[in-house]
C-alpha cells in the first residue's frame, strides 16, 4: 500500500485529477500542454512524445517537399 501511496503523491497534476468527463483521446494532449504544471509522470511522457512527434513532423515535411519541388512537379505533369 505504501508504494501506491507514494505513487499517488508523485502523480498529482491536472492531467491526473481532471474528471474523465472532460477528457478523451482528442483533447488530452492539448489539455496537458496547456497546464502550467505537470507531474513527473506526465512531464516525462509529454516530452518524450513531443520529441517523437517533432521527428515525424520533419519526415512529413520532407516527403511533401520532395513531391513539390519544381522538377518533380514537371515530371508529374508530364506523366499525367
Amino acid at each position: 500500500a505504501t508504494d501506491s501511496c507514494s505513487r499517488m503523491l508523485k502523480y498529482t497534476c491536472s492531467g491526473c485529477i481532471v474528471a474523465r468527463k472532460l477528457l478523451n483521446s482528442r483533447n488530452f494532449s492539448k489539455f496537458l500542454h496547456s497546464c502550467a504544471y505537470q507531474c513527473v509522470h506526465h512531464k516525462v511522457i509529454m516530452e518524450a512524445e513531443d520529441k517523437y512527434k517533432n521527428e515525424l513532423r520533419k519526415t512529413f515535411i520532407c516527403a511533401k517537399k520532395i513531391l513539390l519541388t519544381p522538377c518533380r512537379r514537371r515530371q508529374l505533369c508530364k506523366e499525367s
Partner: protein, 120 residues
Amino acid sequence: MFQGQRGWFCGSVSQDLRQIWEDEGGMVSDVKAADFLFSCDASHPDTLRIYQSLEYIEDNATVFHAYYLAAIANTEMKNSVALGHFVLPPACLQKEIRRKIGSFIWEQDEKFQIEKHDRM
C-alpha cells in the same frame, strides 16, 4: 458511464475489456469517429498506424491503455480512476520513459485482473 461516447479498439485489446466499454454504454467505432482510442500493445500494427498519423503529431490523438477499463470495472468509484494515468506512448519511447519514472501504472498487472466469467 460512457453513454454516447465512441471508442476505437486496437486488435490487441481483449474481448473482456471491450465488453466493459459496452456494458458502460460506450459504442464501438472506427478510428476517425472515435472519442477514445484504446490499445493494449503499442507495437501492434493497428496502434502503430495511429502513432504515424497526422492526427497524432498534431496532438489530436492520445492512445490510452485499455487497462483503464479494467480499473473501472474493479472499482465502485468509477469516476475516481484517472484516465490520465493510462496514456500509452509509442513502444520506442517506453524504455526511455521507464528509466525516468519507473514502471507504468498499466504494467502492474495484478491490479487489472478482470474476474473471468465462464462463457462456455
